[in-house]
Protein backbone atom coordinates (compact mmCIF):
# COMPACT_ATOMS: atom_id res chain seq x y z
CA UNK A 1 0.00 0.00 0.00
CA UNK A 2 1.28 3.46 -0.87
CA UNK A 3 2.19 5.75 1.98
CA UNK A 4 0.41 8.63 0.29
CA UNK A 5 -1.87 8.73 -2.70
CA UNK A 6 -3.66 11.70 -4.24
CA UNK A 7 -6.44 10.88 -6.69
CA UNK A 8 -7.84 13.52 -9.01
CA UNK A 9 -7.47 16.40 -6.60
CA UNK A 10 -9.09 19.67 -7.55
CA UNK A 11 -8.97 22.71 -5.34
CA UNK A 12 -10.19 26.22 -6.01
CA UNK A 13 -10.59 29.35 -3.96
CA UNK A 14 -13.69 31.39 -4.92
CA UNK A 15 -14.06 29.64 -8.26
CA UNK A 16 -10.39 30.33 -9.07
CA UNK A 17 -8.80 26.93 -9.67
CA UNK A 18 -5.50 26.39 -7.82
CA UNK A 19 -4.99 22.65 -8.27
CA UNK A 20 -6.23 20.73 -11.30
CA UNK A 21 -6.40 16.96 -11.35
CA UNK A 22 -3.43 16.17 -9.13
CA UNK A 23 -2.53 12.50 -9.11
CA UNK A 24 0.46 11.21 -7.21
CA UNK A 25 1.76 8.25 -5.28
CA UNK A 26 4.47 8.51 -2.66
CA UNK A 27 6.17 5.28 -1.55
CA UNK A 28 8.15 4.74 1.65
CA UNK A 29 11.86 5.39 2.03
CA UNK A 30 12.21 8.26 -0.42
CA UNK A 31 13.12 11.92 -0.33
CA UNK A 32 10.90 13.71 -2.81
CA UNK A 33 11.23 17.25 -4.10
CA UNK A 34 8.01 19.11 -4.85
CA UNK A 35 9.35 21.76 -7.16
CA UNK A 36 7.61 24.78 -8.60
CA UNK A 37 7.70 28.53 -8.77
CA UNK A 38 5.92 30.55 -6.12
CA UNK A 39 2.16 30.61 -6.42
CA UNK A 40 1.85 27.41 -8.46
CA UNK A 41 0.01 25.40 -5.82
CA UNK A 42 2.74 23.72 -3.76
CA UNK A 43 1.58 25.01 -0.38
CA UNK A 44 -2.07 24.38 -1.20
CA UNK A 45 -1.26 20.75 -2.02
CA UNK A 46 0.71 20.40 1.20
CA UNK A 47 -2.12 21.87 3.27
CA UNK A 48 -4.55 19.44 1.66
CA UNK A 49 -2.30 16.48 2.52
CA UNK A 50 -2.13 17.78 6.10
CA UNK A 51 -5.93 18.02 6.25
CA UNK A 52 -5.77 21.76 6.85
CA UNK A 53 -7.78 22.42 3.69
CA UNK A 54 -10.48 20.35 2.06
CA UNK A 55 -10.28 19.53 -1.65
CA UNK A 56 -13.08 20.68 -3.95
CA UNK A 57 -13.06 17.13 -5.28
CA UNK A 58 -10.81 14.10 -5.25
CA UNK A 59 -9.36 11.84 -2.62
CA UNK A 60 -6.22 11.91 -0.48
CA UNK A 61 -5.25 8.61 1.10
CA UNK A 62 -2.57 8.01 3.72
CA UNK A 63 -1.86 4.30 4.22
CA UNK A 64 -5.02 3.66 2.23
CA UNK A 65 -7.26 5.73 4.49
CA UNK A 66 -8.72 9.15 3.89
CA UNK A 67 -6.80 11.94 5.66
CA UNK A 68 -8.00 12.92 9.14
CA UNK A 69 -7.07 12.43 12.78
CA UNK A 70 -5.16 9.20 12.05
CA UNK A 71 -3.06 10.69 9.26
CA UNK A 72 -2.13 13.68 11.43
CA UNK A 73 -0.49 11.30 13.88
CA UNK A 74 1.88 9.98 11.26
CA UNK A 75 2.65 13.16 9.33
CA UNK A 76 5.06 15.73 10.69
CA UNK A 77 4.69 19.09 8.99
CA UNK A 78 7.03 22.06 8.80
CA UNK A 79 4.98 25.01 7.58
CA UNK A 80 6.47 27.87 5.65
CA UNK A 81 5.99 30.23 8.56
CA UNK A 82 6.86 29.42 12.12
CA UNK A 83 3.98 28.79 14.50
CA UNK A 84 5.98 28.66 17.73
CA UNK A 85 4.83 30.80 20.64
CA UNK A 86 7.77 33.18 20.96
CA UNK A 87 7.06 33.96 24.61
CA UNK A 88 7.83 30.35 25.53
CA UNK A 89 11.28 28.95 26.36
CA UNK A 90 12.76 26.01 24.49
CA UNK A 91 11.99 23.78 27.46
CA UNK A 92 8.34 24.85 27.54
CA UNK A 93 8.10 24.22 23.80
CA UNK A 94 9.55 20.72 24.24
CA UNK A 95 7.00 19.97 26.99
CA UNK A 96 4.27 21.29 24.74
CA UNK A 97 5.31 18.97 21.91
CA UNK A 98 5.55 16.04 24.35
CA UNK A 99 1.99 16.72 25.51
CA UNK A 100 0.72 17.12 22.00
CA UNK A 101 2.38 14.24 20.17
CA UNK A 102 2.73 10.64 21.41
CA UNK A 103 5.56 10.06 18.99
CA UNK A 104 7.70 13.07 19.92
CA UNK A 105 11.20 11.91 20.87
CA UNK A 106 12.20 14.53 23.44
CA UNK A 107 15.63 12.98 24.04
CA UNK A 108 16.48 13.23 20.38
CA UNK A 109 15.28 16.82 20.27
CA UNK A 110 17.33 17.70 23.38
CA UNK A 111 20.44 16.20 21.85
CA UNK A 112 20.01 18.14 18.61
CA UNK A 113 19.38 21.33 20.56
CA UNK A 114 22.51 20.71 22.61
CA UNK A 115 24.51 20.27 19.39
CA UNK A 116 23.49 23.84 18.53
CA UNK A 117 24.87 25.11 21.86
CA UNK A 118 21.44 26.39 22.81
CA UNK A 119 20.48 26.67 26.48
CA UNK A 120 17.18 24.98 27.16
CA UNK A 121 15.91 27.94 29.21
CA UNK A 122 16.32 30.41 26.35
CA UNK A 123 13.19 32.23 25.31
CA UNK A 124 12.37 31.76 21.64
CA UNK A 125 11.94 35.51 21.16
CA UNK A 126 15.59 35.94 22.22
CA UNK A 127 16.85 33.62 19.48
CA UNK A 128 17.97 34.74 16.02
CA UNK A 129 15.70 34.02 13.08
CA UNK A 130 18.12 31.36 11.80
CA UNK A 131 18.14 29.64 15.21
CA UNK A 132 14.35 29.72 15.36
CA UNK A 133 14.20 28.01 11.98
CA UNK A 134 16.67 25.37 13.11
CA UNK A 135 14.68 24.76 16.31
CA UNK A 136 11.49 24.39 14.33
CA UNK A 137 13.12 21.83 12.03
CA UNK A 138 14.47 19.90 15.05
CA UNK A 139 10.99 19.73 16.54
CA UNK A 140 9.48 18.48 13.30
CA UNK A 141 12.23 15.91 12.63
CA UNK A 142 12.16 14.63 16.25
CA UNK A 143 8.73 13.10 15.80
CA UNK A 144 8.83 9.42 14.83
CA UNK A 145 6.40 9.45 11.94
CA UNK A 146 6.01 7.95 8.49
CA UNK A 147 5.86 11.11 6.45
CA UNK A 148 7.68 14.41 6.93
CA UNK A 149 6.50 17.36 4.87
CA UNK A 150 8.77 20.38 4.80
CA UNK A 151 7.41 23.47 3.08
CA UNK A 152 10.24 25.71 1.83
CA UNK A 153 12.70 24.75 4.59
CA UNK A 154 15.45 26.77 2.89
CA UNK A 155 13.53 29.98 2.31
CA UNK A 156 15.72 32.92 3.18
CA UNK A 157 18.40 31.12 5.21
CA UNK A 158 22.15 31.75 4.97
CA UNK A 159 24.47 29.08 3.44
CA UNK A 160 25.66 27.76 6.82
CA UNK A 161 22.08 27.33 8.02
CA UNK A 162 21.21 25.72 4.69
CA UNK A 163 23.95 23.11 5.20
CA UNK A 164 22.73 22.50 8.74
CA UNK A 165 19.18 21.97 7.49
CA UNK A 166 20.26 19.55 4.75
CA UNK A 167 22.43 17.59 7.21
CA UNK A 168 19.61 17.41 9.73
CA UNK A 169 17.20 16.14 7.09
CA UNK A 170 19.67 13.45 5.93
CA UNK A 171 20.64 12.48 9.47
CA UNK A 172 17.06 11.85 10.44
CA UNK A 173 15.94 10.13 7.27
CA UNK A 174 15.15 6.43 7.61
CA UNK A 175 13.92 3.88 5.11
CA UNK A 176 10.55 3.38 6.78
CA UNK A 177 9.59 7.01 6.26
CA UNK A 178 9.47 9.45 3.38
CA UNK A 179 10.21 13.14 3.24
CA UNK A 180 8.51 15.60 0.90
CA UNK A 181 10.39 18.87 0.51
CA UNK A 182 8.76 21.73 -1.33
CA UNK A 183 11.07 24.39 -2.70
CA UNK A 184 11.83 26.74 -5.55
CA UNK A 185 15.54 26.75 -4.55
CA UNK A 186 16.38 23.59 -6.46
CA UNK A 187 20.16 23.70 -6.85
CA UNK A 188 20.66 23.76 -3.08
CA UNK A 189 18.65 20.66 -2.46
CA UNK A 190 18.62 18.51 -5.59
CA UNK A 191 21.55 16.34 -4.51
CA UNK A 192 19.59 14.68 -1.71
CA UNK A 193 16.42 13.99 -3.70
CA UNK A 194 15.38 10.54 -4.93
CA UNK A 195 12.49 11.80 -6.97
CA UNK A 196 11.26 15.11 -8.28
CA UNK A 197 7.77 16.35 -9.00
CA UNK A 198 7.39 19.54 -11.04
CA UNK A 199 4.22 21.48 -10.39
CA UNK A 200 3.12 24.37 -12.56
CA UNK A 201 -0.15 26.30 -12.72
CA UNK A 202 -1.82 23.78 -10.45
CA UNK A 203 -0.81 20.71 -12.44
CA UNK A 204 1.88 18.06 -12.10
CA UNK A 205 3.80 18.32 -15.33
CA UNK A 206 6.70 15.99 -14.60
CA UNK A 207 7.45 13.26 -12.12
CA UNK A 208 10.71 11.30 -12.30
CA UNK A 209 13.63 9.66 -10.57
CA UNK A 210 16.19 12.48 -10.10
CA UNK A 211 19.28 10.66 -11.46
CA UNK A 212 17.35 9.24 -14.42
CA UNK A 213 16.21 12.72 -15.35
CA UNK A 214 19.81 14.06 -15.15
CA UNK A 215 21.01 11.18 -17.30
CA UNK A 216 18.28 11.72 -19.92
CA UNK A 217 18.69 15.49 -20.15
CA UNK A 218 22.42 15.74 -19.42
CA UNK A 219 21.74 18.59 -17.05
CA UNK A 220 20.98 19.38 -13.47
CA UNK A 221 17.42 19.34 -12.19
CA UNK A 222 17.77 23.08 -11.63
CA UNK A 223 18.74 23.60 -15.28
CA UNK A 224 15.88 21.43 -16.57
CA UNK A 225 13.47 23.33 -14.36
CA UNK A 226 14.73 26.70 -15.60
CA UNK A 227 14.47 25.62 -19.24
CA UNK A 228 10.92 24.42 -18.74
CA UNK A 229 9.71 27.53 -16.96
CA UNK A 230 11.59 30.24 -18.76
CA UNK A 231 9.74 33.47 -18.11
Amino acid sequence: MELLECKHIYKGYDKKPVLKDINLKIPRGKIIGLLGKNGMGKTTLIKLINDLLIPTSGEILVNGKEVGIESKKIISYLPERTYLDKSMTIKQTLDYFTDFYDNFDIEKAKKLIKDLDLEIDTKISKMSKGMQEKLQLILVMSRNVELYILDEPLGGVDPATRDYILDTILNNFNEDASIIISTHLISDIERILDEVIFIDKGKIILSSDADKLREKENSSIDEIFRRMFKC
Binding site: G29, K30, I31, L166, D167, L170, N171, F173, E175, S187, E190, R191, I192, L193, D194, A210, D211, K212, R214, E215, N218, S219, S220, I221, D222, E223
Partner: protein, 119 residues
Protein backbone atom coordinates in the same frame (compact mmCIF):
# COMPACT_ATOMS: atom_id res chain seq x y z
CA UNK B 1 37.84 11.36 1.87
CA UNK B 2 36.44 14.33 0.10
CA UNK B 3 33.67 14.17 -2.46
CA UNK B 4 32.75 16.86 -4.95
CA UNK B 5 29.71 16.61 -7.18
CA UNK B 6 28.28 18.61 -9.99
CA UNK B 7 24.54 18.49 -10.41
CA UNK B 8 24.67 17.99 -14.18
CA UNK B 9 25.30 14.27 -14.03
CA UNK B 10 23.69 11.45 -12.09
CA UNK B 11 24.99 11.61 -8.53
CA UNK B 12 25.34 7.83 -8.23
CA UNK B 13 27.66 7.70 -11.27
CA UNK B 14 29.87 10.38 -9.74
CA UNK B 15 29.92 8.44 -6.48
CA UNK B 16 31.03 5.29 -8.34
CA UNK B 17 33.80 7.21 -10.12
CA UNK B 18 35.12 8.84 -6.96
CA UNK B 19 34.92 5.72 -4.82
CA UNK B 20 36.70 3.84 -7.61
CA UNK B 21 39.61 6.29 -7.41
CA UNK B 22 39.80 5.94 -3.62
CA UNK B 23 39.92 2.17 -4.04
CA UNK B 24 42.44 1.89 -6.89
CA UNK B 25 44.73 4.48 -5.29
CA UNK B 26 44.69 2.51 -2.05
CA UNK B 27 43.20 5.32 0.02
CA UNK B 28 40.58 2.75 0.88
CA UNK B 29 42.74 -0.32 1.26
CA UNK B 30 42.35 -3.69 -0.40
CA UNK B 31 40.39 -5.95 1.97
CA UNK B 32 39.24 -3.03 4.12
CA UNK B 33 35.71 -2.99 5.49
CA UNK B 34 33.56 -0.15 4.20
CA UNK B 35 31.47 1.94 6.58
CA UNK B 36 27.72 1.27 6.44
CA UNK B 37 25.61 2.76 3.64
CA UNK B 38 24.18 5.20 6.14
CA UNK B 39 27.57 6.37 7.40
CA UNK B 40 28.90 6.72 3.86
CA UNK B 41 25.81 8.70 2.84
CA UNK B 42 26.22 11.07 5.76
CA UNK B 43 29.91 11.49 5.08
CA UNK B 44 29.34 12.33 1.43
CA UNK B 45 26.08 14.20 2.12
CA UNK B 46 24.02 12.23 -0.34
CA UNK B 47 20.78 10.33 -0.01
CA UNK B 48 21.34 6.77 1.37
CA UNK B 49 19.34 5.37 -1.58
CA UNK B 50 21.82 6.99 -3.99
CA UNK B 51 24.77 5.59 -2.04
CA UNK B 52 23.18 2.14 -2.08
CA UNK B 53 22.84 2.35 -5.86
CA UNK B 54 26.51 3.32 -6.21
CA UNK B 55 27.63 0.41 -4.02
CA UNK B 56 25.56 -2.03 -6.10
CA UNK B 57 27.39 -0.72 -9.16
CA UNK B 58 30.81 -1.12 -7.48
CA UNK B 59 29.83 -4.64 -6.51
CA UNK B 60 28.89 -5.40 -10.14
CA UNK B 61 32.36 -4.20 -11.08
CA UNK B 62 33.69 -6.62 -8.42
CA UNK B 63 35.62 -3.81 -6.74
CA UNK B 64 33.74 -4.50 -3.51
CA UNK B 65 32.00 -7.59 -2.20
CA UNK B 66 29.45 -8.33 0.47
CA UNK B 67 30.26 -10.72 3.26
CA UNK B 68 26.97 -12.04 4.47
CA UNK B 69 25.68 -10.20 7.56
CA UNK B 70 29.08 -8.62 7.98
CA UNK B 71 29.07 -5.71 5.59
CA UNK B 72 30.93 -4.70 2.47
CA UNK B 73 34.66 -5.05 1.83
CA UNK B 74 37.07 -3.84 -0.82
CA UNK B 75 38.28 -6.63 -3.09
CA UNK B 76 41.52 -8.44 -2.28
CA UNK B 77 42.03 -9.25 -5.96
CA UNK B 78 45.20 -7.30 -6.72
CA UNK B 79 45.08 -8.21 -10.42
CA UNK B 80 41.65 -6.66 -10.73
CA UNK B 81 42.78 -3.52 -8.91
CA UNK B 82 45.78 -3.25 -11.24
CA UNK B 83 43.51 -3.68 -14.24
CA UNK B 84 41.27 -0.82 -13.09
CA UNK B 85 44.28 1.32 -12.32
CA UNK B 86 45.72 0.71 -15.78
CA UNK B 87 42.37 1.49 -17.43
CA UNK B 88 42.13 4.72 -15.47
CA UNK B 89 45.69 5.74 -16.37
CA UNK B 90 45.04 5.15 -20.05
CA UNK B 91 41.79 7.13 -20.02
CA UNK B 92 43.49 10.07 -18.34
CA UNK B 93 46.45 9.94 -20.71
CA UNK B 94 44.26 9.74 -23.81
CA UNK B 95 42.31 12.72 -22.62
CA UNK B 96 45.51 14.70 -22.05
CA UNK B 97 46.92 13.77 -25.45
CA UNK B 98 43.67 14.75 -27.17
CA UNK B 99 43.70 18.14 -25.47
CA UNK B 100 47.33 18.73 -26.46
CA UNK B 101 46.62 17.69 -30.05
CA UNK B 102 43.71 20.11 -30.15
CA UNK B 103 46.17 22.83 -29.16
CA UNK B 104 48.30 21.82 -32.16
CA UNK B 105 51.07 19.80 -30.51
CA UNK B 106 52.35 16.71 -32.28
CA UNK B 107 53.24 13.49 -30.45
CA UNK B 108 57.06 13.95 -30.24
CA UNK B 109 56.52 17.43 -28.76
CA UNK B 110 54.03 16.06 -26.24
CA UNK B 111 56.49 13.35 -25.21
CA UNK B 112 59.24 15.96 -24.87
CA UNK B 113 57.07 18.11 -22.60
CA UNK B 114 56.14 15.11 -20.50
CA UNK B 115 59.81 14.24 -20.05
CA UNK B 116 60.71 17.77 -19.07
CA UNK B 117 57.84 18.14 -16.59
CA UNK B 118 58.12 14.76 -14.88
CA UNK B 119 60.71 14.52 -12.18
Amino acid sequence: MNFIFDNDRPIYIQLVEQLEIYIISGQIKSGEKLPSVRELALKTKVNPNTMQKALVELEDLKLIYTERTNGKYVTKDQKLLDKFKDKYAREKTKKYINEMQELGFIDPEIIEILKEESI
